[in-house]
């Protein structure tokens, strides 16, 4: 924003090699027996958004850092982890698309949706977990 005039945030083309970051709350790092494992990948539930069926919010690296993504939400943002996905890899999943969708309301130019048919949610979250890489681990004392 400059002089009270909002900058235009057009929807941009995402290159195949673009990286996407997704914030992962600490609750998704509890594995077998409920034991917290901050060194591993989060569980598949991290790739499900109950409020937006058929869509998953991520941040495009062009406009967001992993650390900014970590702090983007939750009751205790410092306890979040961040995973990384590459657009090319995401598009290899059947019937999945990726769309840059700047979120003016939340002042997030990086916002990017991974979109898929609702009835394919199990496949998508399973595959996204397989394809994601750990970008930022939750802090070891995050269990709180």
């Amino acid at each position: 924003m400059a002089d009270g005039v909002e900058e235009d945030w057009p929807t941009e083309h995402l290159p195949d090699e673009a990286r996407l970051y997704r914030r992962v709350p600490i609750g998704f790092y509890r594995g077998r027996g409920g034991i917290l494992d901050v060194d591993g990948k989060p569980t598949v539930g991290a790739f499900h958004d109950e409020h937006h069926p058929g869509s998953l919010s991520t941040n495009w690296e062009r406009y967001a850092t992993p650390e900014a993504t970590r702090l983007q939400g939750g009751k205790n943002p410092q306890s979040n982890g961040v995973v990384r996905l590459v657009v090319r890899s995401v598009l290899q999943i059947d019937r999945v698309s990726v769309r840059h969708s700047p979120d003016r309301a939340n002042n997030n130019r990086a916002h990017t949706d991974i979109e898929f048919p609702v009835d394919q949610a199990l496949q998508v979250r399973t595959e996204l977990r397989e394809r994601c890489e750990i970008e930022l681990k939750p802090p070891r004392d995050a269990a709180g």
Partner: protein, 205 residues
């Protein structure tokens, strides 16, 4: 000169002898060739992947030799996992913690996981394992994860194969599954006892 391999005979030999021979040791395994088949030679084998390649060689009247090479799958022991029913029960008991998740456990308003959903998940796991055991297959311990819509995902993974089953929170909805192999083949659909066996057999083939 070409001669068709008597397929049924080959298969019968493979079914009855192959696994036993490999267990006995590869030095002895050529001894069990049938009388009218030449003794096979072992070209290669990979116990881990469950594969043997062997060659039968004949010398015809014209003295021109010809050979048949067979790639044998599924007749050697697969990597050993813990006994199936034990691994299932271990997975089930290690998943009971998810009942302790309070509402909003995902920081985004997720409901708590209901005991009824967990019970149906246990039925799905035991059903799948029973199908596997009945067919001589073994499953590793499943990974069991809560999903923010109140449902539960169960995942079995072995080698590069993966089978995921989702048990919804609403009892009237049927579980769904997604299966994939290391060669990229995948499929999914509704899950019940009738599809468990063919899906498992296909994945383990």
């Amino acid at each position: 000169m070409t001669t068709a391999v008597p397929e049924t005979r080959a298969n019968r030999w493979l079914d009855t002898e192959c696994e036993q021979l490999l267990v006995a040791g590869e030095r002895d395994w050529t001894a069990a060739a049938t009388t009218d088949w030449p003794r096979p030679t072992l070209s290669s084998h990979d116990r881990e992947l469950g594969r043997i390649r062997c060659t039968y060689q004949w010398s015809g009247a014209s003295t021109q030799a010809f050979a048949v090479q067979l790639l044998i799958l599924r007749h050697v022991p697969r990597p050993q996992f813990p006994v199936a029913d034990q691994s299932a029960e271990a997975g089930i008991s290690s998943a009971r913690w998810i009942l302790s998740l309070a509402e909003d456990w995902d920081d985004n308003g997720a409901p708590a996981i209901q005991e009824d959903t967990l019970s149906r998940m246990e039925l799905v796991v035991r059903d799948a394992v029973r199908c596997a055991v009945d067919s001589g297959l073994t499953l590793p311990e499943p990974a069991i994860s809560p999903i923010p819509d109140g449902s539960i995902d169960v995942q079995w993974r072995w080698e590069s194969h993966l089978l995921a089953v989702n048990v919804p929170s609403m009892p009237e909805k049927r579980p769904s599954f997604y299966a994939t192999t290391n060669d990229g083949i995948h499929f999914g659909g509704s899950w019940d006892s009738s599809v468990a066996l063919p899906v498992l057999a296909w994945l383990m083939a």
